[in-house]
Amino acid sequence: MDVLVNLLSAAFYEGLAYGLVAIGVYLTFRVLAFPDLTVDGSYPLGGAVAAILIVNGVNPWLATVAALGAGLCAGLATSLLNTKLRITALLAGILMMAALYPINLMVMGGQANIGLLREITVFDQVSQFLGIDDKVTLSIIFMVILAIIILLILNWFLRTEIGLALRATGENEQMVRGLGGNTDMTTILGVSISNGLVALAGALLAQRGGGADVGMGIGMIVMGLASVIIGEAIFRPRGVTAILLAVVGGTFIYRLFIGVALRFHLVSASNLKLITAVLVIIALAIPYIQKKLRHEWVPPAARM
């Protein structure tokens, strides 16, 4: 019973924290149709910025906000490569991901990791403030509050005039420009916000997990995609609010799945990303194979 509770509660707060990554991935891949690989670099960037600031005595809240800002800048750089220099989205993200690795090392003063176990983190401060000692309960409460705030903001933002233009950009860029919308601006905004959220998740999970590591972002994209796909497949959401909740729900299910698999030694930690990649491949392939078998598949060029 204890095992189950532990698994569920871990999946819950991890689901919420990684849910920020999934929402970031959702914003780029699905809303903007901008397959952004910067995520693998902006996640450790968030962790690195928060960690280096905290060990140097900066207030952990300030450090966390700075991490979010650093993520925004990484997204800004990627989207500028795409919109101003017309480098394809995929390549722009790969370039930034490659560039961020040494940048993250530099941010961390040349070390591959920074421990935060003896530092005061945002979790410690909330723990003091609320008088809760239990780490898991605390993490859950903290992440629930944060997730609610961020989901409310995004839920509002995506319904605003700018948010609407952003959503339409991913679907029909030509139309948005024809209606006077600046698609460069909406792309820059969307990719920046996405990477800001990812870096925020990096900062929080570094503080929760005891430190930042330069390799902590590897496979983050695939994990985020897996969460988005699971959320879409299980909840079949319609409308902005439902989609945001489904993505977070998908992350929770994914983390639970991973937690169970690791706990009962169904997979080893080192194989986790391989399993996730296979899961994503299967999930992406199923709709095509189903259609192909039913003779319903039509090549994209022939679709009307």
Partner: protein, 283 residues
């Protein structure tokens, strides 16, 4: 024909594609054109004549070659990007998929269109007041779309989508409306409905309009001025009086005289359904 009261002025507008290669095309060749307020110009020409290139340059999809000028309402917009052109210009494309966003609802599409020429802010995009405005804008279509505001546009038929695209292009009353073969992909009945709708909106809003069509009869029946293009140039420009008693056959003759070539475009002749039209000749 020239003057300061022109709504749109094109001066020495040229466009070259694939410069310095064997595929080089002079899509637009030194076009000078004055569009007056409340003109309804129909534009005809064979494939590759430069009709769509002309609309693309006006809409700012790409700039003209250096030295060309595009002036609308007295302001030079030659070097502004497409979304800045759009504050003056509404456009309906040949493909209904380009003019509308399939996964978004009818009201969301209309909200996007409503913000043409205004800065998009952090206000909620669809509110009660706007819904009422959209409803009133959709009723004249007679398609019942006003009761389906939250329906995703992807579930509408091609004709319904094109009618919606037309409302979206004209909703915020741009100075100039560009219709780019906007009925070409519709079935004859739907095409007629959308075309009549277009004319009704243009008349009601007194909207200055440029309509590209492949159909000579339509080009003669609609609008008050007719332009014929050939190899990137305007070779015929007829005002209301000049084209009043014109037939498709007259147009073909006018084309041959102006271009110095025999008329040889099957697609135009076939779409006129004119028994007097001569069979396509090759030079």
């Amino acid at each position: 024909m020239s003057g300061n009261n022109s709504l749109l002025q094109l001066r020495s507008v040229s466009k070259v594609f694939a410069r310095a290669t064997v595929d080089m095309v002079m899509a637009l060749d030194n076009i000078n054109l004055d569009v007056h307020a409340e003109d309804f110009i129909t534009i005809i020409g064979s494939n590759g004549a430069g009709k769509t290139s002309l609309l693309n340059v006006i809409a700012g999809v790409y700039p003209p070659e250096r030295g060309g000028k595009i002036i609308i309402n007295g302001s030079d917009i030659t070097n502004l990007s497409e979304h800045r052109h759009a504050q003056y210009i509404g456009r309906v494309y040949q493909d209904p998929h380009i003019g509308t966003a399939a996964k978004m609802s009818i009201e969301e599409n209309l909200s996007l269109a409503l913000m043409r020429g205004q800065s998009r802010g952090l206000g909620i995009a669809t509110n009660k007041q706007r819904r009422e405005q959209f409803r009133l804008g959709l009723i004249p279509l007679g398609l019942g779309l006003e009761d389906r505001l939250t329906t995703p546009v992807g579930t509408l038929s091609g004709g319904q989508r094109q009618a919606l695209a037309l409302v979206m292009a004209t909703l915020s009353k741009p100075s100039l409306l560009l219709l780019d073969e906007h009925i070409a992909t519709l079935d004859p009945n739907t095409a007629r409905i959308v075309l009549e709708l277009s004319e009704a909106i243009v008349k009601q809003e007194k909207m200055t309009t440029m309509m590209v069509t492949h159909n000579m009869e339509l080009a003669l029946r609609y609008g008050n001025r007719l332009i014929m293009m050939h190899k990137g140039r305007i070779i015929v420009d007829l005002d209301h009086k000049q084209r009043k008693n014109l037939t498709v056959q007259n147009l073909v003759t006018a084309f041959e005289r102006a271009s110095g070539e025999l008329f040889a475009d099957d697609s135009i002749l076939l779409s006129t359904a004119n028994p007097n039209a001569r069979p396509p000749d090759k030079q």
